[in-house]
Every structure is written in C-alpha cells, then in structure tokens.
C-alpha cells in the first residue's frame, strides 16, 4: 500500500442512511483523483437494528478487502449506540481516533462516555439539522458535511457538487437543496473539544 489511506467506520441504525453515506463518500472522492471503497456491514438489513458501514479513501488504488479493524475515524449516527457494548463503537479505536457523533451533547460529555484515551471527539446535531433542512431525521449527509470540517479529503463545495450529481436523477430540487443546506450547516456547526 503506497500513500495515505483513511479508514472510516460508520455506526447507525438501519434506515439512517449510513450504508448510502459510506458508499457515496467512496464515490464522491473519485472527482478528486482519489480512490474510494465503501461497503456496509454485510448481512440482512433491518430497520432500526444497529449496523455498521465502512469507507476507505486513499491516494492509490485500494486492494485490500478485509474489514476495517482500526478505523482512523468513527462516525456515530445514533448516539444511543454508544450505550451498547454489542454495537462496538469503540472497538479497535485508541490514541488519535477521531469520533464524530450525532448528538446535542458536548464533546467532553461524549468523550467521557466513550472512554477512549487520547481520542479526538467532535459532536454535531445532525438529526436537528436534517429535520430543519430536509424535513426528515436522516442524518447521513450532514454527517459527511461534519466529517469534511475535520478532514481534507475534499472540500465541502466538492461534496456538494457530487451530491447534486448523486441526487438529481432521483429527487426533487427541494430535497437536493435541503441536503446541500444540511451539509453546509453541519460543516459549520460541528463542535470540537
């Protein structure tokens, strides 16, 4: 493996759009000349059940097909998953792991709940933003906006352009505008420790 590779793990409940986000992000970075790989946790998909998604972003083609064991970034779409040992939000994390959590709580509060020494915790009220902008509690796209506030894999403007490409064939302009707005707001409203 030559060059830098970012490995992201998504924690969510079925229906929150984490699979879409994990795969969309892998697609969105193509425009930047980067390589992406996105996959959901393989298995039956059930609404409301805890699930994981994975994204790898790299400068060179990604060859490995194994699970991500030590994510550099963990994105939590449903904060109640932090209370579940089975959800494994902190599995394989440690010093320097970046957590981005969809919650109205402060990063310090979340950090103490997570209990990962040396972790960098950010929070954002992605569900609130989604309700305001899209009108539905689907926090996936705002969470990508939040991610770009702390990672330079691409700019928010680039993400928005990819988002338009992705959504334009299937959704109305109102939904598209809502999503663009959500991404913008989340990237600005991210709260860091």
């Amino acid at each position: 493996m030559s060059g830098k590779m970012t490995e992201i793990r998504w924690h969510a409940r079925g229906g929150q759009g984490a699979k879409t986000a994990a795969m969309f992000l892998a697609e969105a970075v193509l425009e930047k000349g980067k390589f992406g790989q996105g996959f959901p946790e393989y298995g039956p998909e059930r609404r409301g059940a805890p699930m994981r998604g994975y994204t790898r972003i790299a400068d060179a083609p990604i060859r490995r097909h194994c699970m991500i064991e030590h994510p550099g970034i963990v994105i939590v779409l449903d904060p109640t998953l932090m209370d579940s040992a089975a959800a494994g939000v902190t599995a394989g994390t440690g010093e320097g792991t970046v957590f981005i959590v969809n919650t109205t709580e402060k990063p310090a509060t979340v950090a103490s709940k997570l209990g990962v020494k040396g972790a960098v915790v950010h929070t954002v009220d992605a569900t609130g933003i989604a309700l305001d902008t899209i009108g539905r509690p689907i926090p996936n796209m705002p969470m990508i906006g939040a991610l770009l506030a702390v990672n330079d894999m691409m700019t928010v403007a680039e993400l928005k352009s990819a988002l338009v490409d992705q959504l334009s064939s299937k959704f109305s302009q109102v939904i598209i505008d809502g999503n663009l707005n959500a991404v913008d707001r989340a990237s600005k409203e991210l709260v860091s420790a």
Binding site: M1, F24, L30, R63, H65
Partner: protein, 391 residues
C-alpha cells in the same frame, strides 16, 4: 480508448457489463447476494436502457432451464445466482454445457448451507467445477466487469461454444462501492459483437432436435468432443484477453503474477483476498522477504501448464482455498495446483480460509508468509491448515 471512471458495486458493474452485450433474454431468480445485480438490470429494462426480455422465474432451476431453452432457441442469454440457487440449478448447469450453449452467468459467490449463511466463500462455484462451464474469478469490481465483458466473446467463440461463469465474491465485491473504468456502451458492444447461433430451434425451416436420448453407442463420443473444447478454450481466453488489453490497457492472463519474477515463495489463491494479500506482501518485500502471489483467474479450464511453469524452481508454495472438499485433501484449488505441480519437487501446502465470510485479514496473510518462510528454510507444515479459526 476513452473509458469512464465510475464508482459502482460489483453487482452494478456486472449488470452494466451484461447490459452492454445487449442480450436478448435474461432469466433469474433472486438470492442474496446476487439480488442487487438483477435489481440494477431490471432498472435498465424499466428505464428503456436495455431491451432484454427478462424471465422472472419461480426458482433457479427454472432460471437455468429457461436459459437453456432461450439459448437453444438462438438468443443471447444470461442468468445470475449465488449459493443455494446455483445448487438448485445443478442438473441443468451440466445440460447447458453439454448442449454447448454459450450462456453467461454471474455467480456471486456465497457459502452453501448448512447452516445457512449468506456470506462469501467459493463452495458454490467449486461444487460446479466439473460441470463443463468456463469459470473466471475476479479480485474486485473492475475485474468482475472486465471478465463479464469478455465472457461473451469466450462463450460464443466458435472454438469454444461453452457457457461461462463470471465469479465474484459475495458482499466483498458484490456490495462494495469500488472505482473502476467502464467502456462506453458502443465500444463494449463493438468488442463483444453481435451473436448469431449456428443452429436455432426458431429456425423452423431448418428444424433441429436438441437433447436427445444418447446411449452407450454415442454418448461417449459426444463427451469426447466436449472434452476437446477445453484446451481450445484456454487459448481463446488468452486471445480475447489480449485483444481486450489492447482496447482498454488492462491485460489479463489465466493468472495474475504479482512480484513473481524473483519470488522464492509463492501464495496461490483466487478472488478478492488476493488484493488483501498484495498489501501484506508489499510489507514483507520491504523487509527483503522474496514472496510473490499467483492469482488464478481462469479456474476452468484449469491452466495446468501455465501454473507448472510459474511454480517450478520455487522454494515453497502454498495454496489458499475459500472452500473445502469434504473428505478430500484440502480444497479444490489445492488439489488442482498440487496436481499441476507433479514432478516439480517444490514443497506445497494448503490452507482453508474465509468459510462463510470469515474475514481474511492482514494478520492471516502474515501468518501464511511466516509459514512459507519456515518451509523455505527446510521446515515442515501440515499439508492442509485452517486459517483464522478460533483455537
């Protein structure tokens, strides 16, 4: 040749490749993880991007049966399945090959029951390895797409006329968004070409009888003629791959050789895990360990001479199987490779890994390389070893 860089799942990539062949008929029944491939295809038809007639059958047995009828009628035909679906097709899978019908099939590899498991291993395709189909394996969505494009040329080639199976790992490839280069519809179709059957049921002015009762006096001769097609198929696969390479810049052979030139130790495997292995091989190479990888693409026909030539003179070889031959020695890939190595005097051992989707991680590759070093230094390994199981 202008190609488009896209991010697609393996299932979507293969759906595109099949669509680009402009098949007349598709017959399939849904099974995880093949489903999304057929969903995508159904979308093409619903949106008018494809004029394929789809037969939405009530089982995989009927899917393969309808495919046989359609191909015998003279139509370019494909199907797709996984695991138990392939097992249910079984009887007709053999018939498709025996009737020399150039059907293409996406086999999205998944473990066989029981217990029921929806994840990747190769037991489905390996169980069908003697059925007479050409079997190609892929490491990622790009290779699955490329194999699917080439599968038509191979299957329909006059020296071959055999059904061809495009294998790719369930979920690991089928459901992973991956970047790949795609040909335009026009360029792909130009490469694949128009299909015309030599004998067709629908040629009612020149009627034919297909699939007669064939007894002791002729059956064997028919099988002999079928057997003669496989060495020719190996040549055709190479020719078609070379031509595809000239078109796309992506050249394929029966195997991919990764850091093989000076390799003293060689891992032999197929499917998505080869990519994971390459990353770890690079790490060991940096430490000066001369290890390489031979990734099998053409499993049927098995490229015996090719492998024997590449594996001669190595200090240690190991073979990784993502399926088991219960009661046999190790897995099918091991048995084939060791048989191809007969007389080479190169030590070879095997692993069974990843059954039922068990993750094939970087640590497992490291273990394999450590084992190879031990053998290269004169040590011994069990002939067959299980990798990545709880102790």
């Amino acid at each position: 040749m202008a190609q488009k860089l896209v991010a697609l799942s393996g299932n979507e990539a293969v759906a595109y490749a099949f669509k680009q062949a402009r098949p007349h008929v598709a017959a399939a029944f849904p099974i995880t993880p093949q489903t999304e491939m057929m969903h995508k295809y159904a979308e093409f038809v619903a949106n008018g991007e494809s004029t394929t007639e789809m037969i939405l059958v009530e089982s995989e047995h009927s899917a393969m049966s309808a495919a046989v009828g359609s191909a015998a009628a003279g139509a370019r035909t494909f199907t797709a399945t996984s695991s138990a679906g392939f097992a249910l097709m079984w009887e007709v899978v053999y018939i498709a090959a025996s009737l020399r019908l150039p059907i293409c099939m996406a086999l999205v590899n998944r473990a066989l029951s029981g217990n029921i498991n929806i994840h990747c291993d190769h037991s489905d395709s390996m169980g069908g390895r003697d059925a007479g189909w050409i079997q190609l394996f892929a490491e990622n969505a790009q290779e699955a797409y490329d194999n699917a494009i080439m599968s038509w040329r191979i299957a329909e080639h006059m020296d071959v006329r055999l059904p061809t199976m495009v294998n790719y790992d369930g979920f690991i490839i089928s459901h992973t968004a991956d970047s790949l280069h795609m040909l335009s519809d026009e360029d792909a179709y130009k490469f694949i070409g128009k299909y015309k059957a030599d004998y067709a049921l629908l040629d009612v002015e020149n009627p034919i009888t297909v699939g007669p009762l064939d007894l002791t006096d002729y059956y064997f001769e028919h099988k002999a003629s079928q057997l003669a097609a496989y060495p020719r198929a190996l040549e055709v696969i190479k020719q078609v791959s070379d031509e595809y390479g000239d078109l796309t810049g992506r050249y394929y052979d029966h195997c991919e050789e990764y850091l093989m030139d000076d390799a003293e130790m060689v891992m032999v495997m197929l499917g998505s895990s080869a990519g994971t292995a390459k990353d770890v091989i690079d790490e060991y190479r940096e430490k000066g360990v001369k290890v390489g990888l031979l990734k099998i693409r053409t499993f049927r026909p098995f490229p015996v001479a090719y492998l024997a030539e590449r594996l001669a003179g190595r200090k240690a070889v190991c073979v990784l199987d993502r399926s088991a031959s219960f009661g046999g020695q190790g897995g099918p890939v091991f048995m084939e490779v060791r048989s191809a190595m007969y007389g080479l005097q190169v030590p070879v051992h095997g692993y069974i890994y990843g059954l039922g989707g068990r993750d094939f991680d970087l640590g497992q590759v490291a273990t394999v390389i450590e084992d190879l070093q031990k053998v290269a230094a004169g040590g011994e390994m069990n002939t067959i070893n299980l990798l990545g199981i709880r102790s």
